[in-house]
């Protein structure tokens, strides 16, 4: 990006607050993600990482806060003032792809149908074109030979790569990953991280919750340490070597 050129803001979260009953899980989170940026989120279990990621595509509704994607407001607003003016979640999901820890592939559909269904049902693309575009995404994650397999016939690593292709097929502006490798056997982690690395290199905007510190250090342009529902510290790669906050240092030392 040339000097003076302003990167487009893809995600803009302001004052996000989320309660599960009395449990105040997100206590005012701000986060801005610009196009092409790779954001890694880490922190202890229960700190609210998944909940934060899920509010970005409204799988969780925050009670307070602004969720702006490409300038459009989908959240209730910082004081809950947006009300009926907000755009529907379905529109948001045209721009945001998500990959889950447990893959969540559709077990009764072939790999090809798993990827093609969104094109068919959401975009109204005809079968032949949907299948061709799905196959293209599957080639991208190295699974073209598995188009007619069912998810149960694949390894965990392969399933997660199909899930990545399924999210990519709608050509999202940003991809969210919630611990995409933590359900995998250690020997299968590499292939999924490899697919994510390739994706990062294409310039895809990504927000990744991960415990894979090595991977985070490699791709993380913006690195976010969360604890108890707030962002404790955020910064560039230097966060992993000399963080300002003692809590961040302790956490990194413990997981490395």
């Amino acid at each position: 990006m040339g000097p003076g050129e302003q990167a487009e803001t893809v995600i803009d979260l302001r004052g996000i607050q989320k309660w599960f009953d009395d449990n105040h899980v997100l206590r005012g989170v701000d986060l801005t993600v610009t196009r092409g940026e790779h954001v890694c989120v880490f922190g202890p279990s229960g700190s609210g990482k998944s909940t934060l990621l899920r509010t970005i595509n409204l799988l969780e509704e925050p009670q307070r806060g602004s969720v702006r994607i490409l300038g459009v407001e989908y959240g209730p607003g910082v004081d809950g003032e947006v009300g009926r003016g907000r755009a529907p979640a379905k529109q948001l999901r045209q721009h945001v792809g998500m990959v889950f820890q447990q893959f969540n592939l559709f077990p009764h559909m072939t790999v090809l149908d798993n990827v093609a269904i969104a094109l068919r049902r959401v975009r109204g693309v005809d079968r032949a074109e949907a299948e061709e575009r799905a196959a293209r995404q599957l080639r991208r994650v190295g699974l073209l030979q598995k188009v007619s397999a069912y998810p149960s016939q694949l390894s965990g690593g392969q399933q997660q790569r199909v899930a990545i292709a399924r999210a990519l097929v709608l050509d999202p502006d940003v991809m969210l990953f919630d611990e995409p490798t933590s359900a995998l056997d250690p020997e299968l982690v590499g292939e999924v991280l490899g697919a994510m690395r390739d994706l990062a290199e294409t310039g895809m905007t990504m927000v990744v919750v991960t415990h894979e510190m090595g991977f985070a250090r490699e791709i993380g342009d913006q690195n976010v340490f969360m604890d108890e529902g707030v962002i404790v510290e955020q910064g560039g790669r230097e966060i992993y070597t000399d963080s300002r906050e003692a809590r961040t240092r302790d956490f990194i030392r413990a997981v490395l």
């Binding site: 945001v96 889950f100 447990q102 559709f106 009764h108 269904i117 959401v122 069912y150």
Partner: protein, 227 residues
């Protein structure tokens, strides 16, 4: 005592004709029960409080009803209370439908809840509408879960239809009673009737097992693509 085979052979056509009504009543009631059961299961999951309340009451009233009592009440009681006179056949189909639909609503509800919540989330995350997530993602998986229990209710409806003899629906049991009373050979005739019920249940069970296999309920083989 000797087994009067000749009598059985002589009366079998009459009994098989009555069996057609047994099959007709129970299959019709079953199909209606599946439809009503689906509606009630949807009601239990609805966002609308009146829909939830209505289906809750429906399910709990008719699941608790004894078929015999329901049949007699619909046939005699309803007319006294409201002046609505239903034919015996209508009462039969209605009673079997009410009872089985209440059970099936619970079967379907449990099957839908039995599908991993992550499936809804994945469907939502790729932008499918709520209806499409249900129709394309959740329902096919719920159907596999529901098939064995649903099949049991088909078998139940068939056997339970024999109770309709008390209101003179001319199905297999009623006709058998009649023949037994006039020929004084209850042993042969009820053995024959039992054999007919058994044969139908056997065929139904075989068909259901095939369906289960095709849907991959018991094995791992998945169903055909649904996109």
């Amino acid at each position: 005592m000797t087994f009067d085979t000749a009598l059985v052979v002589e009366r079998l056509p009459q009994m098989l004709a009555a069996t057609r009504l047994t099959l007709g009543v129970s299959l019709l009631a079953f199909v209606l029960a599946v439809l009503v059961g689906l509606v009630m299961a949807a009601g239990r999951r609805s966002r609308l409080v009146p829909a939830r309340a209505l289906s809750f009451v429906y399910v709990n009233v008719f699941r608790g009803a004894a078929l015999y009592v329901l049949v007699i009440w619909l046939f005699n009681g309803l007319a006294v209370a409201t002046g609505i006179l239903l034919s015996a056949l209508t009462v039969g189909v209605l009673a079997l439908t009410l009872l089985n639909s209440a059970y099936l609503a619970e079967v379907f509800r449990a099957a839908i809840s039995g599908v991993d919540h992550g499936q809804w989330e994945a469907g939502n995350a790729i932008g499918l509408s709520r209806w499409d997530v249900f129709r394309r993602v959740v329902a096919p998986q719920a159907a596999r879960i529901a098939v064995p229990a649903t099949g049991n209710h088909l078998v139940d409806a068939l056997k339970d239809s024999s109770i309709l003899a008390v209101i003179a629906v001319p199905e297999l049991m009623f006709v058998t009673n009649g023949i037994a009373q006039t020929t004084f050979r209850p042993f042969e005739l009820y053995v024959t009737a039992a054999g007919i019920y058994l044969a139908i249940v056997f065929v139904l069970s075989w068909g259901l097992r095939r369906l289960e296999r095709r849907l991959g309920v018991s094995g791992t083989r998945p169903v055909a693509p649904v996109v």
